[in-house]
């Protein structure tokens, strides 16, 4: 469908954090399969922050599952040279039988970090998300925003070069979400991670990303892309963010309207 743009100046030319080539995914029995994603070709450069934007039925979450390796594409190839990507969900998905610190240590343990290094590393990651005092806290003792920060710390504990985020802030209140946008921007800049962030919130996408990729719905195809060079840190209230959001929203609405006509 669309030819892809390369991200703004990859750190090392020729490398990529994720490369999707002509990826399609269909669910259901062969013959009666429903296409969910069609011919997605997308590169995420090292250190790049990409937002995938789309309405319901665009297969955003399916796409993330494919990149995360939780599912296989029907057609096409996906490369993630930095190893198994880290994945964050809309639900915090922290294990309630472990403390915040132990949740992070479990990820470290699965990665093969030796026992005596786990605790200091977990403490470091918690202080990175500004939750230094939360090591011994149970999940239910934390607020929604704190849970998502612990979940982010657990994702970072995987030490992957690519972080996949599936609407991680959608269930939070507006004030907390706004603060976590700042926090994510800061951590992204500090860690130089590549981020592939899925959302249906246009403003959020423009607030965060270097590149916004708009997906069409049923099946999901890449519809259009915008490179965003509004300098960080941005605020969601910025005029430039608002202007671009209007433009992208118009495009998105046009795409949605198409489904009303037959």
């Amino acid at each position: 469908m669309a030819d892809t743009l390369t991200g703004p100046a990859p750190a090392q030319p020729g490398t990529h954090a994720a490369r999707l080539e002509h990826v399609s995914k269909a669910f259901g029995r062969p013959g009666a399969a429903q296409p969910v994603l069609e011919d997605i070709t997308l590169d995420v450069a090292p250190g790049e922050f990409v937002c995938l934007l789309g309405a319901s039925g665009c297969g955003k979450s399916t796409l993330l599952n494919l990149v995360a390796g939780l599912d296989k594409p029907s057609v096409g190839t996906i490369e993630t040279p930095g190893g198994r990507p880290a994945l964050m969900f809309q639900e915090h998905a922290l294990f309630p039988w472990l403390t915040a610190g132990r949740n992070i240590e479990l990820a470290l343990r699965m990665r093969g970090v030796p026992r005596e290094q786990r605790r200091p590393e977990a403490e470091r990651l918690l202080s990175l998300v500004r939750l230094s005092g939360a090591y011994g806290k149970r999940v239910h003792e934390l607020s929604g925003g704190m849970r998502q920060r612990v979940a982010l710390a657990r994702a970072l504990a995987q030490d992957s070069r690519l972080l996949l985020m599936d609407e991680p802030f959608a269930a939070l209140d507006a004030i907390t979400r706004d603060v976590l946008h700042d926090e994510l921007t800061r951590i992204w800049a500090e860690t130089n991670l590549s981020v592939l962030f899925v959302t249906h919130n246009v403003r959020e996408a423009v607030r965060l990303a270097q590149r916004v990729v708009l997906l069409s719905s049923r099946p999901g195809r890449i519809n259009r892309e915008w490179a965003i060079d509004i300098p960080q840190p941005r605020r969601i209230e910025d005029a430039a963010v608002a202007d671009l959001s209007v433009e992208i929203t118009d495009e998105l609405r046009g795409e949605i309207r198409r489904h009303g006509k037959h």
């Binding site: 198994r84 472990l98 699965m110 990665r111 800049a189 605020r235």
Partner: protein
């Protein structure tokens, strides 16, 4: 497709934090996170965290006593009082309804005869050993039924059905197969408790939210490591309530078996003691037997299983704290 340049470049040459003005804190936190902006965001987050976290203090000891100890004591006092009044009013023949005092006297006699604890221990030891054996058999059985579709389809319904079969129905068969011996007692306990424990684990595993399994797979907990680190701890609430029920079934089956099966080899447990008292038409002894069986059942539950269940639920934030 074409990429669109944002129109508002000019206005944005200046970095944004300058605009933070009025509302102040929100929106700072630049790359690197140091400096005033970073501290602003840190302070803002600390404020949000403080606002959104409720601290639940420990309940004072006095309040615990008032809420947990006083009500059951009141109930016991009321029951004994009603009992005593019924006896005093001559509601029934003393050979059918002994007075609380006569039952107490029987307890004191047994204590002085020195066989009170051996009677209780004979049953409790059997009950706990049988329960442990049921645990060792029921747990892997539950795991296999929950995770292997063929096994589940094959024996899942039987396992559920066995739960509603009173295990006392196994006593005649167990006695014929194994003789009137401890073996028969244990067989009856196992047949009562194993299905409860296995079913508890199966429903615990069925109720594990799929998001934990997905999250586990993304951090690399797959296969056996996934079962050990994710599946088993996640299914613990269901498993523990299965254990609790398994204990209740063990104890009930054992008492039934002791009542029915009589042999000098078996020694005198609570069930046997109860039956001996019936044969002697000693109604105070019968009452004491019933009360001891009840008290032991409650005590094991309160000492072992309820604290375990509370701990599991509380660490997961699943208890409805009344305050």
């Amino acid at each position: 497709m074409a990429s669109t340049e944002t129109g508002a470049q000019g206005a944005l040459d200046e970095p944004v934090p300058g605009k933070a003005g009025g509302t102040g804190d929100i929106g700072a936190g630049g790359a690197g996170g140091d400096g005033a902006a970073g501290q602003d965001l840190g302070g803002l987050e600390a404020g949000l965290d403080a606002l959104e976290t409720r601290t639940v203090g420990r309940t004072p000891l006095g309040a615990v006593l008032l809420k947990k100890v006083v009500p059951p004591l009141t109930a016991i006092v009321v029951i004994v009082a009603v009992w005593q009044i019924a006896v005093s009013a001559g509601a029934s023949d003393p050979t059918k309804l002994p007075s609380p005092h006569a039952v107490w006297q029987e307890l004191v006699d047994r204590w002085q005869a020195g066989d009170l604890f051996s009677i209780i221990w004979t049953s409790v030891e059997r009950g706990l050993l049988g329960f442990l054996a049921a645990l060792v058999i029921g747990t892997p059985l539950g795991l296999v039924v929950a995770r292997v579709p063929f096994v589940r389809a094959a024996i899942g319904p039987i396992l559920t059905g066995l739960q509603s079969l009173p295990s006392v129905a196994w006593v005649p068969a167990a006695v014929i197969w194994l003789g009137i011996e401890d073996k028969a007692m244990y067989a009856v306990i196992l047949l009562g408790a194993v299905p409860s424990i296995a079913n508890g684990l199966v429903s615990g595993i069925d109720q594990v939210p799929p998001i934990y399994l997905r999250a586990g797979r993304t951090i690399g907990a797959t296969g056996l490591r996934g079962a050990w680190h994710i599946l088993l701890p996640a299914s613990l609430p269901g498993y523990v309530s299965g254990l609790k029920q398994g204990w209740a079934f063990s104890w009930r089956s054992l008492m039934a078996a002791e009542l029915i099966a009589s042999s000098p080899d078996l020694g005198v447990g609570l069930g046997r003691y109860l039956e001996n008292m019936r044969e002697a038409s000693d109604m105070a002894g019968v009452f004491l037997g019933i009360l001891l069986i009840l008290v032991v059942g409650i005590a094991i539950d309160q000492i072992v299983f309820s604290p375990l269940e509370r701990h599991v639920l509380r660490t997961r934030g699943l208890t409805a704290r009344s305050q």
